[in-house]
C-alpha cells in the first residue's frame, strides 16, 4: 500500500507530471504566477480539491450510474471549489481578491476531471486520495517554479522579501518587466517543459 502510494507520487510529480507531460490544467493556472505566494495558495487549493474530489468520487463510485457520471463529478467538484472559495474569502481576503476568478475556475481545471475519470472511478478511496495529493503536488511544483522565477526576475523579491541586493540596483541592474506580463508565463512554462524532458522526466512514449 505504502509502496504503491510512493510510486504513484513519484510518477505524478516527475514521470508524468500533469502540466509538463499531460497538458492538463494549464488553463486557470498561469495567470496567478506573478508572485510566489499567489502560486503557492493556488497550488494548495488545487491539491485539496483534487484529493478530496478523488476521495469522494471513489467512495461513491459503485453508486454512480455511468451515463450521468460527468454531472455527478461536476457537482462534487464545484461544491468543493465553493468551499475553498468561501474559506479564502473568510480567512484570506486579500489573497481571494488577488486570485479573483481563478480559484473558481479550478472547477474546469482538467486535472481534477482527468484524475476523477482516469483514477478515482477505478480505485479505492485512500489510494485515490493520495493520487490526488500527488497530482496536485505535481501541479503546485510547476506553479511554484514559475512563480518564483517571475517574482525574482520581475520584482527582485521572493514571497515579498527583497532578495536581489540593493547595491546591484545602484550598479544599474533593473527588474525585467517582461516577467510581469502574461507572455512570460507561457515562455517560462515552455522552457520548464523542455528542461523536464531533457532531464528524462518523460517516460518516452509520448
Amino acid at each position: 500500500m505504502l509502496a504503491q502510494i510512493k510510486k504513484n507520487m513519484y510518477e505524478s510529480i516527475w514521470k508524468s507530471n500533469p502540466i509538463a507531460f499531460q497538458v492538463l490544467g494549464v488553463c486557470s493556472a498561469l495567470a496567478v504566477t506573478v508572485k510566489l505566494e499567489d502560486s503557492l495558495v493556488m497550488g494548495i487549493a488545487l491539491m485539496l480539491v483534487v484529493a478530496f474530489s478523488n476521495f469522494t468520487l471513489s467512495s461513491i463510485r459503485h453508486y454512480i450510474p455511468n451515463r450521468i457520471r460527468i454531472i455527478v463529478e461536476l457537482a462534487v467538484i464545484s461544491s468543493l471549489v465553493n468551499v475553498i472559495d468561501e474559506l479564502l474569502l473568510a480567512f484570506y481576503f486579500d489573497m481571494s481578491k488577488a486570485l479573483s476568478v481563478f480559484v473558481s475556475l479550478i472547477i474546469t481545471n482538467c486535472i481534477v476531471m482527468g484524475r476523477a475519470e482516469a483514477f478515482a472511478l477505478a480505485n479505492t478511496p485512500l489510494l485515490s486520495f493520495w493520487d490526488g495529493i500527488g497530482n496536485g503536488m505535481g501541479y503546485a511544483v510547476i506553479l511554484a517554479m514559475i512563480g518564483s522565477l517571475r517574482e525574482i526576475f520581475g520584482s527582485g523579491s521572493l514571497l515579498g522579501v527583497q532578495v536581489i541586493p540593493s547595491f546591484l540596483f545602484d550598479l544599474g541592474y533593473v527588474n525585467n518587466g517582461l516577467m510581469l506580463i502574461p507572455p512570460a508565463a507561457f515562455i517560462l512554462l515552455g522552457l520548464i517543459i523542455w528542461t523536464f524532458k531533457a532531464l528524462g522526466g518523460a517516460n518516452g512514449d509520448n
Binding site: A20, V26, C27, A31, V101, G177
Partner: protein, 228 residues
C-alpha cells in the same frame, strides 16, 4: 442609445478581442487550445463552437445572476435579505453543462451537417474554462445585459482568432527543425508566449471616449515608458 454608449460597447468589444484576449492574457481555455490547434479546420470548428456557446451561456447566466442570485434579488417575493451568491459557481457550471447538452441535441436534430462539423467539439466545451471564465468576469466587472452580450461575442472571437493563428503556426512548425526535447508541447507554449507578446502591442490603444482617461493615459503610460 447615445454615441457615448455605442463607443463604450465598441471599446468593450475591441478590448475583449485584442487587448484582454481571453486566451492570451487570461490563459483561459488552454487545454482545448493546445489539444485541438494541430490543424486549421478542426481549430476553426472548435473556435466557432466556442463563440456559439459563449453567446448563449453568458446572457443566460447574467439573467440568472441578476434576478436570482445577487443580494436583494429576491426582494419581490418577500425575501429582501437573502443572498444566494454562494450558489453562483454551481449554478453557472450547471447552466453551461445543460446548455451545451441542449445545443448539441438541437443541432443534431435541426442541422446534421453542422452537427457533423461542430458536434464532436461540444462536449469538450462544457469544461472549457473560457466559457465559465467569461460568466465569472461578467459578474466581477459588473457588466449590464448589453455589455455582457458584447463582451461574450468579443471574447469568443478573441479565442477563435487565437486558436486559428496558433493552428496556422503549428502547421508550419511541422516543417521546421525543433530540438527533440522541445518538440510538441514545449515549442507550442513558447510560440503562444510570442503570440501573446504580439497581442500585447494592442495594449497602447485607448478607446475610451471621455477626456479624463485620455489625459490619464498621457500622464501615466508615456512617462513610464520614457523612464525605461
Amino acid at each position: 442609445m447615445t454615441t457615448h454608449n455605442i463607443l463604450h460597447l465598441l471599446s468593450i468589444f475591441i478590448t475583449s478581442i485584442f487587448i484582454e484576449n481571453i486566451l492570451l492574457s487570461f490563459f483561459l481555455g488552454m487545454c482545448s487550445f493546445l489539444a485541438v490547434s494541430k490543424r486549421i479546420d478542426t481549430a476553426m470548428g472548435l473556435g466557432i463552437a466556442v463563440i456559439f456557446v459563449l453567446v448563449i451561456t453568458a446572457p443566460i447566466n447574467w439573467i440568472i445572476n441578476h434576478y436570482l442570485l445577487v443580494p436583494g434579488a429576491l426582494a419581490s417575493i418577500g425575501l429582501p435579505n437573502t443572498d444566494l451568491s454562494f450558489l453562483r459557481l454551481i449554478i453557472f457550471i450547471s447552466v453551461i453543462a445543460a446548455v451545451v447538452q441542449l445545443v448539441e441535441m438541437i443541432i443534431e436534430k435541426v442541422s446534421p451537417a453542422l452537427y457533423l462539423s461542430l458536434g464532436i467539439f461540444l462536449p469538450l466545451i462544457a469544461v472549457n474554462c473560457a466559457i465559465l471564465g467569461v460568466s465569472l468576469f461578467m459578474v466581477e466587472k459588473e457588466y449590464s445585459f448589453t455589455e455582457t452580450i458584447v463582451f461574450s461575442v468579443g471574447s469568443g472571437i478573441g479565442w477563435w482568432l487565437a486558436i486559428i493563428a496558433m493552428a496556422s503556426i503549428r502547421e508550419k512548425i511541422t516543417y521546421s527543425n525543433v530540438p527533440k526535447d522541445l518538440e510538441g508541447l514545449g515549442i507550442t507554449m513558447i510560440t503562444t508566449g510570442l503570440m501573446a507578446l504580439g497581442f500585447m502591442c494592442f495594449g497602447g490603444i485607448n478607446l475610451s471616449s471621455d477626456d479624463s482617461s485620455n489625459k490619464n493615459y498621457e500622464e501615466t503610460i508615456i512617462p513610464s515608458f520614457m523612464e525605461k
